[in-house]
């Protein structure tokens, strides 16, 4: 049985539909990226998952308990199984760093001695050993988010939700926070759902991607699947655009849809993990007697695997055998168009 089982989830506010018929499952230990542009329903989904919002229809089974059916009193207990990391940290300034981390434990009724011990352990885990006595206002953004994470996992939840947890941070800090989350995922086997509008974050860290668009779930799969399915789907293409190689503007303006005499054929190629370590371009050149230029791209880490995403320029129009070779060997082959060669 999966850890989280969402089925037929719909949420309406008056005449406005925030979520319509969302179904997905999450297994223990997975890192899931939920992505969508603003207004896609990400926040509503998050609020439903941590039982702050009651959906209009559907079921949310967390470890077998249906969050949509519980009474307010039962919800209070159910929420303790979910940790939430906020975009703007939401730390209490009236308490020290250590007391902020202790709060969920106090709420859960832990004894004082055990709380102190657990807080020490958590401070070490997030790398803030000597900061326990400080006030949140004395910390940097990245440190505040570390406190936010420590607080969220203090009571050993079975699910950690991150709501745009890195959107208020600079790129360097973003990386260190995401590394911390991956560490926690590996060492504690904690299931994590990252909700974000940043494709880059999802690409690097999520094992699986859920794409929301206008309240509907339009994609549920690995990054490679997403890249394959994005062909001809402008909603997915737009999301991927930030993180994929794209044609430089000068080339894009010269792009033609019909082959040109001694021009270049531009092809986007996505290769799976095994190809990252094979000399793919050399094989192409040797077998099909083509001169190939790499316009943009290379190998990227996607979740736990490597994907190669490139735009290549072929000197000759693609022959039948070459096309069938590409179809066989690559995840995605997409002819983008033709550009004249320079003289």
């Amino acid at each position: 049985m999966s850890l989280l089982d969402v089925s037929g989830l719909s949420c309406r506010f008056g005449s406005q539909t925030a979520l319509s018929d969302i179904s997905f499952q999450v297994d223990k230990g997975e890192i899931i990226g939920v992505i969508g542009s603003s207004g896609a329903g990400k926040s509503t989904l998050l609020r439903c998952l941590c039982a702050l919002e009651r959906p209009t229809e559907g079921q949310i089974l967390l470890e077998g308990a249906d969050l949509t059916q519980l009474t307010e009193r039962e919800l209070v207990a159910a929420r303790r199984k979910v940790g939430l990391v906020f975009q703007h940290f939401n730390l209490l300034n009236s308490r020290s760093v250590a007391a902020n981390i202790a709060l969920p434990l106090e709420i859960a009724g832990w004894a004082g001695g055990r709380i102190t011990e657990r807080v020490e352990e958590l401070l070490t885990l997030v790398g803030l050993e000597s900061h326990g006595y400080k006030r949140p206002s004395q910390l940097s953004g990245g440190q505040k988010q570390r406190v936010g994470i420590a607080r969220a996992i203090a009571n050993s939840p079975s699910l950690l939700l991150c709501d745009e947890a890195t959107s208020a941070l600079d790129p360097h800090t973003t990386t260190s926070i995401l590394d911390l989350l991956v560490d926690i995922n590996r060492s504690l086997g904690l299931t994590i759902i990252l909700i974000t509008h940043e494709m880059e974050v999802v690409r690097r860290f999520a094992h699986r991607v859920l794409v929301l668009d206008h309240g509907a779930l339009i994609e549920n799969g690995s990054m490679a699947t997403l890249m394959r399915d994005s062909r001809g789907d402008p909603r997915l293409e737009r999301l991927l655009a930030d993180t994929r190689p794209s044609l430089p503007d000068t080339l894009r303006s010269q792009l033609s849809t019909v082959p040109l005499p001694d021009g270049l054929t531009l092809v986007r190629v996505v290769l799976g993990p095994q190809a990252a370590k094979t000399p793919f371009l050399s094989v192409l050149t040797r077998r099909f007697d083509q001169a190939i230029t790499l316009i943009q791209g290379g190998t990227l880490a996607c979740g736990s695997e490597l994907l190669t995403d490139m735009i290549l320029g072929f000197s000759e129009p693609l022959s039948e055998p070459l096309i069938s070779f590409l179809e066989q060997e690559t995840h995605v082959t997409e002819v983008l168009g033709y550009v004249p060669a320079d003289h």
Partner: protein, 216 residues
């Protein structure tokens, strides 16, 4: 002569402090829960019962609309009932408190309103009950504002207690009116004003220290 003045002023100062301290205490005792009630019933994420909080707001505004000097007279029967008499320092504490409660409730409400909804959400998500939200978030996070509000209230009460002199409450205001105004004793008048300035300064200073201590 000067010994008499000193004694009169010392006595009156103590009476004023007594009135201000007692009514400030009552103002917090009743005003703060009222403010929390108004905030908590209005918020959809806490109790969502605006039919309870809103009428409290109306009553508060109604009391605040009455000028204090008129409230003093209006409340004489109430004062008699509670204090047994309508004269003297102890009796004056009743109308002063009744005026101070809605005043402080509104000031406290403003501080409580400023709290980020995200903080309340954080405690709700941790599985905190609504009572825990009030105890761990609303009160401690608003504490600096609640304390500066108390300072403002106490200083307003220093002025109001002078008016209570009109019903024979004693205190510095009473002294200034009877000796300074009715008997044209300029010395007492100036001495009282000087003591009032010192008193207000001391309250303001103590308030600032307290706010700094909790804000850190």
């Amino acid at each position: 002569m000067y010994r008499l003045i000193t004694r009169l002023i010392a006595e009156s100062t103590l009476q004023t402090i007594e009135m201000v301290a007692a009514s400030s205490f009552v103002a917090v005792l009743f005003g703060l829960p009222l403010a929390v009630l108004m905030i908590a019933t209005r918020r959809t994420d806490l109790y969502d019962m605006p039919w309870l909080g809103r009428p409290i707001g109306w009553v508060i505004d109604a009391i605040r609309a009455i000028p204090f000097i008129i409230l003093l007279v209006l409340l004489i029967p109430v004062t008699r009932f509670i204090a047994g008499t309508s004269l003297g320092t102890f009796a004056a504490i009743v109308p002063l408190s009744i005026a101070a409660i809605p005043y402080y409730a509104r000031i406290a409400e403003i501080s409580l309103q400023e709290i980020e909804p995200g903080l309340i959400e954080a405690v709700r998500v941790m599985g905190g009950t609504r009572w825990m939200v009030i105890r761990y978030v609303l009160i401690p996070e608003a504490l600096p504002g609640l304390l500066s509000g108390l300072t403002v209230t106490a200083i307003t009460l220093v002025g109001a207690s002078a008016m209570a002199g009109a019903i024979g409450a004693g205190g510095l205001g009473d002294l200034a009116i009877r000796y300074g105004y009715q008997r044209f004793n300029v010395t007492i008048m100036f001495a009282v004003v000087a003591v009032l300035i010192l008193l207000v300064g001391a309250i303001q200073g103590a308030g600032a220290v307290a706010v700094r201590a909790v804000r850190r």
